[in-house]
């Protein structure tokens, strides 16, 4: 919307996105996005969850064709209908993509990693290692990357591994075989420790200086503002603005992301309804990923935890479930100071945990629905270690009815159920233990709307009956709707608390993005 300043107007356009839309059966993920990315610019792409960033990147990469609505994508001088973009077109046109977890070969050295997928230099039919390393050296020197070509990649810092992935993606450009117009970096710093971020940002600047446009996706707004020359903001699939970062403040940027002036999002506190006694509390608790957390959760309360990826939100739940035991601080459950060294101990204390990755951490795919439901309450369906099939099935049938689990019958395999119904099975598994404290990590991730409503109702019912719940979700709409109170977590620390009238998606989005400095 804002015109680029005169000083840079002569720069040519590397990538031009015109009128690109993408519609899913559930709604429009991207609505007529139109903007240019200038060559040699670091172009930030920002927006909250579900804003359409990933959809746009997938359209550019050709992995998810855009709607055939006449939208076009232009790279350099070639223009193609946005719905016709394929991965191979994207590559030939000069687009490259480096994802958050760079695909490097940890056990190979730097030169071998850079040569992956390339023809190897041969000498008398054998790999010419000297040529391989000198080729790698040339490539790294081009971007002033100071890493030995003989180093094993797995031993390098994460920032270095990402830089190697970037260098590999750009080698066609460096060797002059095929110019690369733009490289898309998807949250390259999300997993990096603080001190390595600067190293990577320098490398990104050198890439742009080499004439390649960099599309930089990040949730770290301070990073976006210092690194990027231009940026594009998306919100709810709408293209909000494309502007230079000159004179742009973080406050303005947040109001673009959130969609209203900042002044409207500040506290007007409301008294909460009376709560039950404190069920669990943490005092100055430290553990891997958790740095000095204080919190109380009451009976009858759903306590939400908001944070970005890597903020320590899952780790915090795992402290209470004994799978990431506290190394310091005090954990109190029902008034008693306790140590929770194992999930078994947590379960004995009446704590239940619905983990984030159902497929990996909760489901027993080749066991029956009944077996999955009873998995955490075998002592209730057995006598002296002898399982009672009758009691197990009674429990299962009651859960299937109570939680409206759509399954052929209780002896159907878990793997035959849809994701949402599998999630209800996992919820039923833990609810049948009547937990005092329910730990929920992304309980509705990948769950369709109907099952999501059922799951909400289940959780609310348990809490109304006096249990406490801690809910982690990256869907801030859900978090705001479900929680009585939300704590914002950043880098293992609690940085803000929201409740009452202030508790809505925009406030949470804003707090998650702004509380960084306060945490120091």
């Amino acid at each position: 919307m804002t015109a680029p300043p005169a000083a840079t107007e002569n720069r040519r356009v590397a990538v031009s996105v015109e009128n690109v839309s993408k519609t899913f059966p559930g709604g429009r993920a991207l609505d007529q996005a139109t903007f240019d990315i200038r060559a040699g610019a670091v172009h930030g792409l920002v927006g909250g969850n579900g804003s359409g960033k990933s959809t746009l990147v997938k359209c550019l990469a050709g992995v998810q064709p855009a709607d055939p609505n006449g939208g076009t994508i232009t790279v350099g001088t070639t223009t193609v209908a946005a719905s016709e973009v394929t991965p191979s077109w994207s590559r030939h046109a000069g687009l490259r993509f480096v994802h958050q977890n760079p695909a490097v070969f940890a056990t190979l050295d730097v030169a071998e990693n850079l040569a992956a997928g390339e023809p190897l230099p041969l000498r008398y039919g054998r790999v010419d290692r000297a040529a391989l390393h000198s080729r790698a050296r040339t490539l790294l020197d081009y971007f002033d990357i100071d890493i030995a070509t003989t180093a094993t990649v797995g031993d390098l810092r994460l920032a270095d591994q990402t830089m190697i992935a970037i260098a590999r993606a750009l080698q066609d450009h460096v060797t002059g075989r095929a110019p690369v117009s733009a490289i898309v970096l998807d949250e390259p710093t999300a997993a990096l420790p603080e001190e390595e971020v600067a190293v990577l940002l320098d490398a990104v600047r050198r890439v742009a200086a080499a004439g390649v446009a960099v599309v930089y996706i990040s949730h770290r707004l301070d990073e976006i503002l210092t690194l990027c020359t231009d940026l594009t903001v998306l919100r709810d699939g709408q293209h909000i603005t494309t502007t230079t970062t000159d004179g742009l403040t973080e406050k303005t940027l947040i109001s673009h992301i959130v969609g209203r002036p900042l002044d409207e999002v500040f506290p007007k506190s409301k008294t909460r309804s009376a709560l039950g006694p404190v069920v669990a509390s943490l005092r100055n608790v430290c553990a891997p990923g958790v740095r000095g957390v204080d919190l109380d959760v009451h009976g009858g309360e759903i306590l939400g935890i908001a944070g970005l990826l890597g903020s320590g939100r899952s780790e915090l739940l795992q402290v209470l479930f004994g799978s990431n035991p506290a190394s310091a601080g005090t954990v109190t459950v029902d008034g008693d100071t306790v140590a929770i060294p194992s999930p078994r101990r947590a379960m004995d204390l009446g704590i239940a945990y619905v983990p984030e990755h159902r497929d990996l951490e909760a489901a027993f795919p080749d066991q029956t629905v009944a077996q999955n439901i009873s998995a955490a309450s075998l002592s209730a369906v057995s006598t002296l270690n002898r399982l009672s099939r009758r009691r197990e099935r009674t429990l299962a049938r009651r859960s299937i009815t109570d939680y409206a689990i759509r399954t052929r019958n209780d002896s159907a395999l878990m793997s035959s159920l849809s994701g949402g119904n599998q999630q209800k099975v996992i919820l039923a598994r833990w609810m049948s233990r009547s937990p005092r404290l329910l730990l929920l990590d992304e309980p509705t991730q990948g769950v369709d709307v109907g099952a999501r409503t059922d799951a909400y109702a289940l959780i609310r019912r348990a809490v109304t009956a006096g249990a406490a719940a801690i809910l982690v979700s990256s869907d801030f709409e859900e978090l705001a709707d479900m929680s009585d109170r939300v704590l914002v977590l950043d880098n293992g620390r609690i940085t803000a608390e929201v409740s009452g009238h202030d508790l809505d998606r925009h406030t949470l989005t804003e707090l998650v993005f702004t509380t960084k400095e306060q945490s120091a």
Partner: protein, 348 residues
């Protein structure tokens, strides 16, 4: 069979899965065929050999021979079952059986102790080997095939060192060696003993909390840990159970053969048992290792080999048959397993 849910990381906005498909009737028939395919094949083999060899194969003497000789292997197959349910291999079960039979024989022949002491010693030695395997696999995290292959080789060496390769046949308790000829209401006693052991194994694996824990660890170790199961201890116990059953199989081996034979325990000895476990995983509960399937699988292999040898085929046919049975059974059980869970990996 119902379809396996694909990875759930990409939620499809229109997630409506019919819980009953129009093909229910057809899939019910095919799933019945799948469940009872092996028993049907077994009956077919019996009918074919009975027609071809009415005098020899279909005689009650032959049936007793099969029942007696296969009973030891059936217990060996049950031993294999425990670690396999947790997703691990114990190929030292054969060598352990051989070791335990030599231990029991030596206690009676060389140390002149009563048969009950011999039995206790064999079971103790077998379980100890199981503890060693379990510690190496569960706590040091060494691949189970490699671990048990190494342990198996060491055991073979020790047995050769003690026996110099000569069977121990003198000085054994006749109450044990005589068992092979004894009948209980017309059924060989060894077969009856095997059935009793099978019933106990069935109870543990299918009806008890520890058995369910083994299956949960085999299904998903991470999920098992997050329902409070001690995963490593469970894996250790599966190897101890395997060792204990190998000890019992060692004692039954003396009863069946009348001596302690140091040649027992090689891969050739164990192969039919291995074939049986995998054949068993294609039947009754397709895709899961199960006791009833294993016992049916073992007697299928034993009966087929008996029939083939009575037809006068060359002895090498037996090896080829056993080897092929293992490959086909492993292949089929992997297909069923993949259809259930999306993963076919066997052995850790």
């Amino acid at each position: 069979m119902t379809t396996v849910e694909p990875t759930l990381e990409h939620p499809s906005p229109t997630e409506t899965r019919p819980t009953t498909t129009p093909t229910t009737a057809r899939s019910a028939l095919s799933s019945t065929l799948e469940k009872f395919g092996l028993p049907l094949l077994f009956i077919l083999v019996v009918i074919v050999f009975t027609i071809l060899l009415p005098q020899t194969f279909a005689s009650s003497g032959n049936w007793r021979t099969i029942a007696t000789s296969q009973s030891v292997l059936a217990v060996v197959a049950m031993a294999l079952l425990f670690p396999l349910v947790t997703g691990r291999f114990d190929i030292s079960v054969g060598a352990n059986t051989g070791l335990c039979s030599i231990v029991a024989a030596a206690i009676m022949a060389d140390f002149d102790l009563p048969v009950i002491v011999a039995i206790a010693a064999a079971v103790l030695v077998g379980s100890t080997i199981g503890v060693i395997n379990g510690l190496l696999v569960a706590y040091l995290g060494i691949n189970s095939i490699i671990t048990t292959l190494g342990v198996s080789t060491v055991i073979g060496g020790i047995v050769q060192a003690y026996t110099k390769g000569i069977p121990i046949s003198a000085g054994l308790s006749p109450s044990l060696t005589g068992l092979s000829n004894q009948l209980f209401i017309g059924i060989p006693v060894l077969f009856v003993l095997m059935l009793i052991i099978a019933a106990a194994v069935w109870f543990v694996l299918e009806q008890s909390v520890p058995g369910r824990n083994l299956a949960s660890v085999g299904s998903s170790e991470k999920a098992a840990a997050l329902i409070g199961l001690p995963v490593r201890r469970t894996v250790l116990l599966s190897f101890v159970a395997a060792g204990l059953l190998a000890g019992i199989a060692g004692v039954l081996q003396i009863a069946s053969q009348g001596n302690g034979n140091p040649q027992v325990g090689g891969i050739g000895f164990m192969l039919p048992a291995l074939a049986a476990v995998f054949l068993g995983a294609t039947t009754i509960k397709p895709g899961t290792y199960n006791l009833i399937g294993t016992v049916i699988g073992l007697f299928f292999v034993g009966t087929a080999i008996s029939g083939l040898s009575l037809m006068g085929v060359e002895p090498w046919i037996t090896d080829v048959f056993n080897g092929l049975a293992v490959i086909i059974a492993v292949g089929l059980s992997a297909v069923f397993r993949r259809r259930r869970t999306g993963a076919a990996a066997i052995g850790q």
